[in-house]
């Protein structure tokens, strides 16, 4: 990759720079609060590289979740990536070894940029895509390290900072609510989880109930497939951060 590609990619990535620095800083603060310093923040952001996934990761580390729960929860929250990949099959073709990195770094924001940005004349589109992916990843790592260091140095009370994760999911839900014509899946997901996680989870333990909730949701969606698919689903992309 040459400097020309980086220079062309940088302006396109500025909104992600601001977003990743702030959400990354909140992640670093949360991680520091539960006793993991900036080295942990650096390696998590380097190797996992998923906003909402890492927010959830903080609570998985904090509650000492079993590896099975970690795998399940990580899979659930990143499930939407499956959809992103489907629409990038063409774009990543012929990128050689860099294709692996493009797939690894396909976050919501990078997906959004790649789906819309056009390489300027004279810049190889493959180099341009790769530069976008690389810059976004660098912003994310930088933000989370800054957050962790700040959390260790600044004498501020950050009790409640973990609400950032809830807020992130609520924002995604509001965007989805507006983008989708049918609200049945969202209502179903909420109602089934309240029933199983809160009511039954009280008696049987919450970790198993999450898996059961998901199973019931999938089952109900499959049962009502004919009904839900009767209008062509022109639903938009989810406008999800991270």
């Amino acid at each position: 990759m040459d400097r020309k590609a980086l220079a062309a990619a940088f302006p396109v990535t500025v909104p992600v720079l601001m977003g990743y620095l702030s959400i990354g800083i909140a992640f670093g603060l949360m991680l520091e609060r539960i006793g993991y310093n900036f080295i942990w923040a650096f390696f998590m952001s380097l190797t996992i590289y998923a906003g909402s996934g890492q927010y959830l990761g903080v609570s998985l580390l904090e509650t000492a979740a079993t590896l099975g729960t970690v795998a399940l929860m990580t899979f659930l929250i990143n499930f939407r990536h499956l959809v992103y990949g489907l629409s990038m099959l063409e774009k990543f073709r012929g990128m050689g070894i860099r294709k692996l990195y493009m797939i690894f770094s396909l976050t919501d924001e990078t997906y959004a940029l790649l789906a819309s940005a056009q390489a300027p004349v004279g810049v190889n589109p493959k180099d341009f895509y790769f530069a976008i992916a690389l810059l976004d990843h660098a912003y994310w790592i930088l933000g989370s390290v800054i957050g962790a260091v700040a959390g260790a140095l600044l004498p501020i009370d950050i009790t409640g900072i973990d609400f950032a994760m809830t807020a992130l999911f609520v924002v995604i839900a509001v965007d989805q609510w507006k983008a989708y014509k049918k609200h049945f899946p969202a209502v179903l997901g909420g109602a089934v989880t309240v029933l199983f996680l809160i009511v039954l989870g009280y008696f049987f333990g919450q970790q198993q109930m999450l898996l059961i909730s998901l199973g019931v949701i999938v089952l109900v969606l499959l049962i009502f497939r004919d009904k839900l698919e009767e209008t062509p689903a022109a639903e938009g992309e989810e406008g999800a951060p991270c």
Partner: protein, 110 residues
């Protein structure tokens, strides 16, 4: 707290599973054939259901025995929804709601 080894293992699992969700479409469907309809259907319908599920998961600690057990969460969630419908700015909604929640749990509902 987890030992360093256990934490590293959990992080490795998170990294591996996250990569798996990103690479699966390429492993399964990169040869030109289009994915089965049922996969596309679930791919469209599941994201809102899973996000709703995760919101409930985040709020699972709510208890109704005292206002401090539910009011900060519900007020802050309401603020996030309101801010987001009003300004459509992800960062403003997330940070506005989080700062409000921090004020509520640290200073109001103590």
């Amino acid at each position: 707290m987890l030992t360093a080894g256990q934490a590293a293992a959990a992080i490795a699992v998170m990294a591996g599973v996250t990569f798996l969700t990103r690479v699966l479409p390429f492993l399964l469907f990169d040869r030109g054939e289009s994915p089965p309809k049922i996969v596309l259907y679930l791919g469209r319908m599941l994201p809102p259901a899973v996000i709703a599920m995760l919101i409930i998961y985040c709020l699972r600690g709510i208890s109704f025995s005292a206002p401090a057990g539910w009011a900060p969460q519900l007020i802050a969630v309401g603020a996030v929804v309101g801010l987001h419908l009003w300004k459509h700015n992800n960062l403003l909604s997330i940070f506005g709601g989080t700062i409000l929640y921090m004020v509520l749990v640290q200073a109001v509902f103590v």
